[in-house]
């Protein structure tokens, strides 16, 4: 695959002022790095994804609150992934030879091990509330989306499409639009999807959004 670009901020998109001022977003990103930087560094290194991108998803999904999400809700924690799909995602990562030894060892330290057939145990609500594990599984999910034919196109990561699918799912109206490759710019896709997902795309990819402002934040 080699080198791919992740362009930011996207033309014509701006982070909604309702999400916070520039300073408040910078402060949030700084706190995320302070609280979870060592976990983010680990998964960024193993997944070959930028730590800025991972931290941006944490910011939008939970604001850095490891306990975010309603009690018992199917999505929980820092990156708000769905625990019912996490098991299949992990087994796919393992089956396709994508899982690094360090990732596998890290999962094992949380009791998530694979049998001879590549199967693992169900992922629980308690698992979702563990910051390091939540970031690891969330980043693996993002990695699988990045490595689809629509997630990376023309040697460029299409983060707008990835955000849309991560937020709204792959197979609803928004997901279908994101995966169609018909929307050539983040602005075009943002205009075509539901308001919640549109705001999400703006928060990460827009001017004064998480990815734009994280350049000014100490990340190590």
């Amino acid at each position: 695959m080699g080198q791919v670009k992740l362009n930011y901020p996207a033309d014509g998109l701006t982070s909604p002022t309702s999400w916070g001022s520039k300073d408040s977003i910078k402060n949030m990103m700084a706190k995320i790095y302070k609280d979870y930087g060592k976990y983010i560094d680990f998964v960024a290194n193993e997944s070959n994804l930028p730590k800025e991108m991972i931290a941006s998803f944490i910011a939008v999904e939970s604001g850095g609150n490891a306990k975010a999400g309603g009690s018992g809700h199917i999505t929980q924690g820092l990156m708000q992934w769905n625990r019912t799909y996490a098991k299949a995602m992990l087994e796919k990562e393992k089956k396709e030879g994508r899982m690094t030894k360090a990732e596998q060892d890290k999962l094992a330290s949380y009791g998530i091990k694979f049998d001879a057939n590549g199967k693992t145990r169900a992922i629980t609500n308690a698992d979702q509330l563990k910051p390091e594990l939540n970031i690891l599984i969330g980043t693996m999910t993002l990695g699988q989306l990045v490595d689809t034919d629509w997630g990376t196109d023309d040697d460029e990561i299409k983060l707008d499409r990835i955000i849309a699918v991560y937020n709204a799912g792959a197979y609803g109206d928004t997901g279908k639009k994101a995966r169609s490759k018909q929307y050539k710019t983040p602005k075009a896709l943002a205009q075509a999807v539901n308001p919640t997902t549109r705001a999400y795309i703006n928060k990460i990819l827009g001017y004064n959004g998480a990815l734009h402002l994280t350049r000014d934040v100490k990340t190590a």
């Binding site: 080198q3 033309d11 994508r98 990376t152 799912g169 109206d173």
Partner: protein
């Protein structure tokens, strides 16, 4: 059946059908319902090198 009751029932059924149609044609998955395990993977994460490029 009283005429007004029929009208109210008709409106109710009509609204219900419109709602069901909307749900069918414009449905979204539930939040966080991304099942990445069903999406074919075509790139190797181990050889991926991402370069952040800040637009001017």
């Amino acid at each position: 059946m009283n005429k007004n009751v029929k009208i109210i029932l008709g409106i109710g059924i009509g609204v219900g059908l419109i709602y069901l149609g909307y749900k069918y044609f414009f449905k979204e998955d539930t939040k966080g319902a991304t099942d990445s395990s069903k999406e074919p993977i075509v790139y190797d994460k181990k050889s991926r090198e991402v370069v952040l490029v800040e637009n001017a």
